[in-house]
Symmetry: C2
Subunit: 287 residues, 2 copies
Amino acid sequence: MAATSARRVFLEKGALVGGGLLLTGPAVARASGDANEVLRTLNSLRTIHGNFSEKEIPEAEVETVLQTSLRAANASNMQSYSIVVTRDRARMKELCGYAGSCLMVFCVDYNRSLASARSLGHSYSAEGTESFVTGAVNTVLCAQTAVIAAKALGIDSLLTNGIHRGDMERVWRILDLPEQACFPLIALVLGYPTSPPEYRKGRLDGAGVIHRERYHRITPQEAEEITRRYDDPREHLGLVDDWKAGGHAHYLDWFFKEWVGRRGPLPTGEAQMQRLLRRCGFVDSQK
Amino acid sequence: MAATSARRVFLEKGALVGGGLLLTGPAVARASGDANEVLRTLNSLRTIHGNFSEKEIPEAEVETVLQTSLRAANASNMQSYSIVVTRDRARMKELCGYAGSCLMVFCVDYNRSLASARSLGHSYSAEGTESFVTGAVNTVLCAQTAVIAAKALGIDSLLTNGIHRGDMERVWRILDLPEQACFPLIALVLGYPTSPPEYRKGRLDGAGVIHRERYHRITPQEAEEITRRYDDPREHLGLVDDWKAGGHAHYLDWFFKEWVGRRGPLPTGEAQMQRLLRRCGFVDSQK
């Protein structure tokens, strides 16, 4: 009876995973019910846009999310990031345009290493593009681990680059960030939604997303297929459902004209972000 | 009896989580045993350095990892990344210096969106630093989700920037990447270790890593405490255990002199990575 029960639980868990992928193939045979629970959590990730409730996350759970996030891999175990946590909803809104129960701003940050080097009398530099790219990878590995740890505790999330919109200097000012070797990369809002999303967002998974052995340049036919998938309301790939109202033949027409178009022509020369990255020391000088 | 059994399983699972953090506080009361299984998986993440066995990951599991990785959040649901998968161990070694059963190269990649825009007759540009930074965040969110999905299936991993060492153009050549709007950001080697790591790597989690409400600049005392923590063999924070052999007073002396020092003085002017990012179109021109 124990075996029957275990099998029933396993099948129930498997059935909850999107796409039914886990019900076939060797993955099922190898994965334990527990492992499928992890995959089920990953498949249940969703973004909450703006409608976080007033309900607060207990401080101990915020701490669990933070501690768990640090388990992500990082280069040379120097953790070239830092996390600024705020629970003040007004400051969250000012920082990124959204507010939940908790905001974590994940920064590429070499200041701790610089302080260690200074403390021991070593010369050390975290300057240049390569430092930024390495640090950015470490930072986002940590951020996504936080997202998943939160989800494990029933906490939903919004990752937003709202900190990069408008006057970015406000982020340095509000959080009192060091001007050098510290760049606020991505903001994570955590909380509980007032109502769950109506559907699970789709994802493209075919040509142009996953390449086998060599990069495959998508064909005109494949581009048309992508246009068709964005148009299919069952796929839930788009940002809006009412794109037809604007007289567009395809969702991607709406996307390129209305959504991308809203930002106007791209500025020439160096934009705000690169100027601030340069101030951080994260841009090589051009010879 | 069912309740007793459930409690026993819950406690067993809780006890496996590092640091005992989950055994106290509201997090425990709220988290189900299943949720703790996710935290346990995150806490069990580890990096395998070089000693991957010859055992192969079944193709269906590689597919599960890929499909699950796509569930990560991404800006405007345009998935500005792509993943090149290879199962050829010789090519893995050539690409990143390591070989396992599978290599996934996660690239910032706007070529699919550019093809869509072309297909529909829209002008669209993915140029500039901001495109790169947004794309890089999307790319690494996806990569870390792949790491965790793999771990859920009992597959270990190594995230490496080995693709950025030596002549980086080989990565474009071997994988036939587009020169523009596509940058190989991080490589993920997947497989099974010949022997498990002897210990779990430690992480710094105090001053200078997590900031509350405002950035805290670490004090000389805190810098000394960090030096002490790296020196403590029980913390397992360092890259090597034999740093004393070189006559160093502290691990961080070894790190700054021997490890960082091995790369020699930093080049002045634009280094390879930024030159290639510029070719991609991901660097703003300076006015």
